[in-house]
């Protein structure tokens, strides 16, 4: 008898207590979704901590950006959107915007002006690639190589990836066609400005896959940004593509014998969206946070913790030294003139139109 009563009582108590605490928290709490790891840490330091101190709002981190599109769809279907601000790459933002899952933003009205009075719209410029997207950083996908495995001739061109004679060993490439197809064509003699014209055609796609086929046996395919740094640290691969911030951390923070190959790096954007269908109170809080977190100083602050370039023009001169290592961050930015001699910008329009088609071909080729 006593046991049942205790069990019932304790269950009821915990249930009530948890519901009560959930209620109490809801009022002044927001869930921000991001990618985790060093990237989330940089946001925590540059945006979340000062914002929480300033406003008393409690920020909960959810590291679900990788499946943000699928989860937002499910939340929308279930009528229960639990996220307030979501960090996504630009192509995901475009998709979410098209599907009506993200809120449209008026930059001049909702975002802070630059310190010199330039409007937000002009300050972000071309990087506002979608009506729902507030850019935050410019990052690039590029190659790192083991300095002790390439002999006396460190690679200077992206085509070293396809040159298994000079640089024997495994390479790591991302398990998707984007970027790999462009690099393959570039190294198969296609001029940079013609890459997307060629890739639109069946023959062009086949040409790219044929070029990739020449190194297929030497490729380890990665799907998480942390894979390549791990493989490089292990000496399992001689070179591999990943995000430039990961390589920075590997080289400067972890002190591994790895060099950067900036040639033909592909720029991409990462930034915020606010999910559609939030209550007015939550929407107001999300907008307030966004306005704070994307102002000129905050974007420059983030570059103290990770080597991604701020998306505002006005932030660039404010980029300083790394918060712990004390090294100048500007030369490690993908946008630094020295690094950006030969670059691509992720072609949002092209991949929006051709992604499904080329993805299918790429996956079929992988499975062969």
């Amino acid at each position: 008898m006593k046991l049942t009563k205790t069990i019932l009582a304790s269950t009821a108590l915990t249930a009530v207590a948890s519901m009560a605490s959930a209620e109490a928290h809801m009022a002044n709490e927001m869930t921000i979704v991001s990618w985790g790891g060093a990237y989330s840490n940089s946001q925590q330091q540059a945006y979340h901590n000062p914002y929480m101190e300033m406003t008393g709002v409690e920020i909960i981190n959810d590291e679900s950006s990788a499946e943000a599109v699928a989860k937002l769809r499910a939340m929308n279907e279930a009528g229960n959107v639990t996220w307030d601000v979501v960090d996504v790459v630009a192509s995901d933002a475009i998709r979410l915007c098209d599907e009506g899952l993200a809120m449209e933003i008026d930059p001049d009205e909702m975002l802070a002006d630059a310190p010199d009075g330039t409007s937000a719209e002009d300050d972000f410029g071309d990087l506002l690639v979608s009506d729902c997207f507030i850019p935050q950083i410019v990052y690039s996908t590029t190659f790192g190589y083991r300095t002790d495995m390439v002999g006396d001739t460190p690679p200077t061109s992206v085509c070293a990836v396809f040159d298994t004679e000079t640089y024997p060993g495994k390479r790591a490439l991302e398990k998707r066609p984007i970027n790999n197809m462009e690099w393959a064509l570039l190294c198969d003699g296609v001029a940079k400005e013609d890459v997307y014209d060629v890739l639109e055609t069946e023959e062009g796609q086949q040409q790219a896959l044929d070029k990739l086929d020449t190194i297929k046996d030497d490729v380890i395919w990665w799907s998480a940004g942390a894979d390549t740094p791990q493989l490089l640290a292990d000496g399992e691969i001689v070179m591999g593509s990943t995000y430039n911030g990961r390589l920075f951390s590997l080289i400067e923070e972890q002190d591994q014998p790895v060099g950067m190959l900036w040639d033909a790096q592909v720029f991409d954007l990462d930034g915020w969206i606010i999910p559609a269908g939030l209550s007015d109170e939550r929407k107001a809080r999300a907008l307030d946070y966004i306005k704070f977190a994307t102002d000129t100083q905050r974007l420059a602050d983030q570059a103290k913790y990770i080597s991604y370039g701020p998306a505002r023009k006005s932030s660039a001169p404010l980029v300083g030294k790394h918060a712990e290592l004390g090294i100048e961050m500007a030369p490690h930015m993908p946008t630094d003139p020295e690094n950006a001699k030969n670059t691509f910008l992720y072609n949002y329009e092209f991949w929006a139109d051709y992604r499904d088609d080329i993805d299918a071909k790429f996956q079929a080729w992988l499975a062969q």
Partner: protein, 392 residues
């Protein structure tokens, strides 16, 4: 068991090829590590075959041969790969010297029945080797994780310092990271808050269901049982997606209570199964005797039935606890970031940033699991002993 079969020495044409074959097998691994698997096979076969011949035909005396081989192979190992290879070489030396004499003296026949044919003897030992290989296959991944969790680097890599057994290559920093990082501590707190409550609910409901379903007069017993067991059979991702939409509608998604209920639903089948199994050995005449003496059903349950089926209840509860403690799919759907549990944190950690902190946590969880499973096993033995004693 005493020696069943008189043993005699075997001919050279038998044991040298067998030892050579074993040497080829070991050589495959050593050779692959040194760069050429094929060369390893050949060298391994020749070296070990010759070794067996020299030990048994030329040196003959067993004890010095064994120690000599250990030293010899340890030295070879040291030149091939330093200190760790020396240890491995020593172990190989001990193994091969023992193996040579074991075959040469015919000791392998001593403990098998005398009427077995050579093929049956062969199968007798092949079977044991296969069992051992499966065990190694299952355990190795776990054993690799443990030393790596003491890595001084931030990668899943055996550094040269670690392989030299240099203390500088080892550190407790990933354990420190686990105990000092607020992310991991929140996750641990959530897991510790969710699992016991979910277990409590699973045990209460599961035990009641098992007792009810063991009554012969309950209609549709099999159908009800099937429904209750279904969370164990339905793919987890399907339960999770279903729970997500259902809990969203009724406002439980993203709450502590929601995760607890979801985990309780997953734990109930384990409790039902273990308790039903214990009830099979339970003597119903005991409850009738209690009723005869004036005890009401509730008193009978707590005073008579419960103590007897307690081992089943506890082992079911432990399974339910481990289910909740290790579960990642359902909590990803039903929970929100505020209910991030340890497995969830490990999952995101693995995907976004491969840090050995995960290995440190894994090691801690493995140790907890071993403790829990040992408890289950001890309880099971106790229950078996009790059942053996109970009448009927």
């Amino acid at each position: 068991m005493a020696a069943l079969t008189p043993i005699s020495r075997t001919p050279v044409s038998f044991y040298v090829p067998v030892v050579a074959a074993a040497g080829a097998f070991a050589g495959l691994f050593v050779g692959t590590a040194q760069g050429s698997g094929l060369l390893g096979i050949v060298v391994g076969a020749i070296a070990m075959g010759a070794l067996a011949y020299v030990l048994t035909q030329i040196i003959k005396s067993e004890t010095p041969s064994r120690w000599g081989t250990v030293v010899l192979l340890a030295v070879v190992g040291y030149f091939l790969g330093g200190l760790p290879a020396m240890v491995i070489g020593g172990i190989f030396g001990w193994l091969f010297a023992w193996f040579s004499f074991w075959l040469y003296e015919g000791r392998y026949r001593a403990k098998v029945p005398p009427y077995l044919t050579p093929m049956q003897v062969l199968w007798h030992f092949t079977f044991r080797v296969i069992c051992g290989a499966i065990l190694v296959f299952l355990i190795t991944p776990i054993l690799v994780v443990m030393p790596l969790s003491f890595n001084a680097e931030n990668f899943f890599t055996f550094t040269p310092e670690m392989l030299r057994f240099d203390p500088a290559g080892y550190s407790l920093k990933h354990y420190r990271d686990f105990f000092s990082s607020s992310d991991w501590q929140n996750a641990l707190r959530n897991s510790v808050m969710i699992a016991p409550v979910a277990t409590l609910l699973s045990v209460s409901f599961g035990t009641l269901a098992a007792i009810g379903l063991s009554q012969p007069h309950v209609p549709f017993r099999r159908a009800i049982m099937a429904v209750l067991i279904s969370p164990m059979i339905v793919p987890l991702i399907i339960s999770a997606a279903g729970m997500y939409f259902f809990y969203s509608r009724i406002g439980l998604q993203g709450t502590y209570l929601g995760v607890v209920l979801a985990h309780a639903a997953l734990g109930i089948p384990f409790v039902i199964i273990t308790v039903t199994a214990t009830l099979v050995g339970f003597d119903r005449s005991l409850t009738r005797a209690a009723a005869n003496m004036g005890a009401n059903p509730v008193t009978t349950f707590f005073r008579v039935q419960m103590p007897l089926i307690l081992p089943g209840v506890i082992s079911g509860g432990l399974f339910a606890f481990i289910t909740s403690f290790d579960e990642v799919v359902v909590v990803l759907f039903v929970g929100s970031a505020g209910q991030k549990t340890l497995p969830w944190q490990m999952f995101t950690g693995l995907r976004e940033q491969i840090s050995p902190t995960i290995l440190a946590v894994a090691t801690i969880l493995v140790i907890i699991s071993i403790c829990l499973l040992t408890t289950v096993e001890l309880l099971r033995r106790r229950s078996e002993r009790l059942r053996g004693m109970s009448p009927g």
